[in-house]
Amino acid sequence: MTSSFDIAKIARLARIELREGDEARLTSRLEKILASFAALQDVDVAGADPLYSLSEEIVLREDVPEPALDRDKILVNAPNSFDGCYRVGRVVRSE
């Protein structure tokens, strides 16, 4: 495939802020890795149904809810909470 890796675009999509020097270092590593994947493109996959899950059939649960988790046990892991809610800096509506 291609070797042009638009790291800024991908990093933005992945919400990963790049550090000093990252752009060049990561791009060169990623391009090397992608180049090593070239063999994938040469395989004859005609008629091969993609294997996304090794389990053939889904497990279903009955509609019998269990008690909710204790709110404090959840929010203790949130960096910022207020009044029983997760808190973020004000989100502008159009975002």
């Binding site: 999509l13 919400r15 996304y52 899950s53 389990s55 053939e56 059939e57 889904i58 497990v59 279903l60 649960r61 009955e62 509609d63 019998v64 809810p65 269990e66 008690p67 909710a68 988790l69 709110r71 959840i74 929010l75 892991n77 207020f82 009044d83 029983g84 809610c85 997760y86 808190r87 973020v88 800096g89 004000r90 989100v91 509506r93 159009s94 975002e95």
Partner: protein, 481 residues
């Protein structure tokens, strides 16, 4: 205005009526913030989605209600994006393998509902709802109670051609889904809400114009208003030489305006892929059959059935569907042994007509079915005529405490089927009209009607016409020989 055709397609999100969430063990409830949240709906590390069987059943039910193909094999996919109402960073939805395929709805094309048209549904898929954000002072608070609530998204084809059609489509879909128990349809709570895609194009053009999407409108009236506003706005843009930009717009109810929320320039890349935590959803055909068999009768099917069993016209049947209380009343009458066709037509035309005449609602009908059955039994037993029954009803409405049977007896209104009396009346008429009888016997059959009328007259309307006719024919036959 006239040069543009309007093209509207609706995407409706309806909350499924389950006790628990779609993939999480937590209950669907709305109390204090973040008090109905489980490991899955909080997106906790290590948590895994497990699908709620009842949610699947309701989605299949919705599929049947919308005449959709049911896909025995479907799959869940992840829609990846970052937003504070989405703790996992992806929404579990269905992408290229939804649970229901193509279907259709019949909708009214105008306000009066006189014309009905079929519009197509593209698909119905299952997904989880996101949480809710509250904006306070300098920060935004996140409540995940609603996160993970089961939804179906009903995606319509762009077949709608006016805001009224869009409104009627929504109303039809809403009543179908509520009727079949798929959703509670609570509009204020946002349990039934719609995104509207709208574009305009010159009449005759077959390519679709650039569309805008109006997000999250949760009232029938607002959808109509928002679409009207948006049509006018788009036309003004185009006629002013501008171009429509593809964007998401919100509806500001207070200002009665749509407003731009965001443009699609930075094309969202949701990186959909099959959710590896959820193997394919394979439906047992027997289960699907059972869901179908347990489906409450759909309004259209019911209307057709009423037309047949009750001998009603389409419009009468529709009236009956809209008025559950009339229907209950008719059913009660039938349970008392009255003929369905007779009871239905009498209630819909005579009883409702008289109540309307008196400016009364149906609930003000003074007669319980058991009492009304007394009057209708007389009609069914041919003791009184249809015309008499209506006259008796008019009298009875004024004297609801009285017994109708007593009244009929006192006034001597009962049609006589006593054969001796009948024979007497017939013979006296034959005797009193020798020349007419002779003409009849000579072959002038039209005279029969005259002789009938004479017997009716002599009997003072107490003789049943069919019985008069039978007796008269018999007596004339004897004379013939």
């Amino acid at each position: 205005m006239a040069h543009f055709e309007i093209v509207i397609g609706l995407e409706v999100h309806a909350q499924l009526l389950t006790k628990g969430k779609i993939f999480c063990t937590a209950p669907v409830a709305d109390g204090e913030p973040n008090t109905s949240v489980g490991a899955v709906s909080a997106g906790l590390p290590g948590s895994l989605p497990v699908l709620n069987r009842h949610a699947v059943e309701l989605a299949v039910r919705a599929g049947f209600a919308c005449h959709c193909d049911i896909n025995l094999r479907s799959r869940f996919a992840r829609k990846n994006y970052f937003y504070p109402d989405l703790p996992k960073g992806y929404q579990i939805s269905q992408f290229d393998e939804p649970i229901c395929g193509e279907g259709w709805l019949e909708i009214a094309t105008d306000e009066s509902g006189s014309k009905i048209r079929k519009v197509r549904i593209q698909r119905i898929h299952m997904e989880e709802d996101a949480g809710q954000l509250f904006h306070v002072a300098s920060s935004t608070l996140v409540n995940l109670n609603r996160a993970g609530t089961p939804l179906i998204e009903v995606v319509g084809h762009p077949d709608l051609r006016s805001p009224v059609e869009a409104k009627n489509y929504l109303k039809t879909l809403h009543s179908l889904l509520v009727h079949t128990g798929v959703t509670d349809g609570n509009l204020e709570a946002g349990n039934f809400r719609c995104d509207a895609n709208i574009s305009i194009r010159p009449v005759g053009e077959t390519k679709l114009g650039t569309r805008t999407e109006i997000k999250n409108v949760n009232s029938f009236r607002f959808v109509e208003l928002a679409l009207e506003y948006e049509i006018a706005r788009q036309i003004a843009v185009v006629e002013g030489g501008g171009t429509i930009i593809q964007e998401t717009r919100g509806w500001d109810a207070a200002a009665a305006k749509t407003f731009s929320m965001r443009t699609k320039e930075d094309a969202d890349d949701y990186r959909y892929f099959p959710d590896p935590d959820l193997p394919p959803l394979v439906l047992d055909p027997e289960w699907v059959k059972q869901i179908r068999s347990e489906l409450p009768e759909l309004p259209d099917d019911k209307r057709r059935r009423l037309q047949e069993t009750m001998g009603l016209s389409e419009s009468e049947a529709k009236l009956l569907l809209e008025h559950r209380d009339w229907h209950v009343y008719i059913d009660e009458l039938c349970a008392l042994g009255l003929d369905a066709k007779l009871a239905a037509s009498w209630v819909i035309s005579d009883l409702v007509g008289e109540l309307n005449h008196l400016s009364k609602s149906f609930s003000e009908n003074p007669f319980k079915a058991t009492r009304m059955a007394e009057l209708l039994s007389l009609l069914q037993g041919k003791k009184i005529s249809r015309r008499q029954s209506k006259e008796l009803l008019i009298w009875w409405m004024k004297h609801p405490e009285s017994s109708i049977v007593e009244h009929v007896k006192n006034e001597n209104l009962v049609q006589v089927d006593d054969s001796a009396a009948l024979e007497g009346w017939v013979k006296s008429v034959i005797g009193a009209n020798p020349s007419q009888v002779a003409s009849y016997l000579a072959g002038q059959e039209k005279i029969f009607a005259f002789l009938m009328g004479q017997v009716m007259k002599v009997s003072q309307g107490k003789a049943h016409p069919e019985k008069i006719s039978d007796r008269l024919k018999k007596e004339l036959e004897i004379l013939k020989r």
